[in-house]
């Protein structure tokens, strides 16, 4: 089981399973009632085209469903990410 401290997640880069750099993590949205982690708030990289994704201003919401693992990078599934947009 993989567990991570949220402070070590700060400023980690978010990468998709097909190797595209998406951006850097800004914050994590949690539901305090259930303890569920809902979304990652990501600042998209300049090279990343954000059309078709769930955005709020310059921030991008990445559903935690799409997160595969968190080690040196935060790896997300780009397919799952788009589907929920």
């Amino acid at each position: 089981m993989s567990k991570t401290f949220s402070r070590t997640m700060a400023r980690k880069r978010v990468m998709s399973t097909d190797g595209v750099l998406i951006g850097t993590i800004k914050n994590v949205m949690v539901d305090l009632g259930t303890g569920q982690v809902v979304d990652l708030i990501v600042k998209p990289d300049e090279s990343f085209r954000t059309e078709g994704y769930r955005m709020d201003g310059d921030k991008m919401f990445v559903p935690f469903e799409a997160v595969k693992d968190i080690k040196d990078y935060i790896v997300v599934d780009r397919y799952l990410l788009q589907k929920s947009a």
């Binding site: 089981m1 993989s2 567990k3 991570t4 401290f5 949220s6 402070r7 997640m9 914050n27 994590v28 949205m29 949690v30 539901d31 305090l32 009632g33 259930t34 303890g35 569920q36 982690v37 809902v38 708030i41 935690f64 469903e65 997160v67 693992d69 968190i70």
Partner: protein, 87 residues
């Protein structure tokens, strides 16, 4: 209620017997279960019991009753001493 995780840092943790435990240093996330696993609590109250040699405690999410202006956790007998028991 949805909150940014950084809002939790620094919140004071009390048990439901109004015993101060400490303040939130970090939040442990279980990546597979997509849930908050526990809160890492530091700045511990030396009165709550055997905490010598420990810098912090991990409070499992299941004993947390509510989080708002403070974090309220279940008072676990044997882990936290309440002021009355000390006499």
């Amino acid at each position: 209620m949805r909150t940014q995780i950084t809002e939790l840092f620094g919140l004071n943790v009390y048990t439901d017997k109004a015993v101060y435990v400490g303040s939130v240093d970090d939040v442990v996330i279980d990546v597979d279960a997509k849930k908050i696993d526990s809160l890492a609590v530091g700045n511990l109250n030396p009165e709550i019991g055997e905490i010598k040699g420990y810098k912090g405690l991990q409070i499992p999410f299941r004993i947390i009753k509510n989080i708002s202006d403070i974090v309220l956790i279940r008072h676990v007998a044997g882990v936290f001493k309440s002021p009355q028991e000390k006499e």
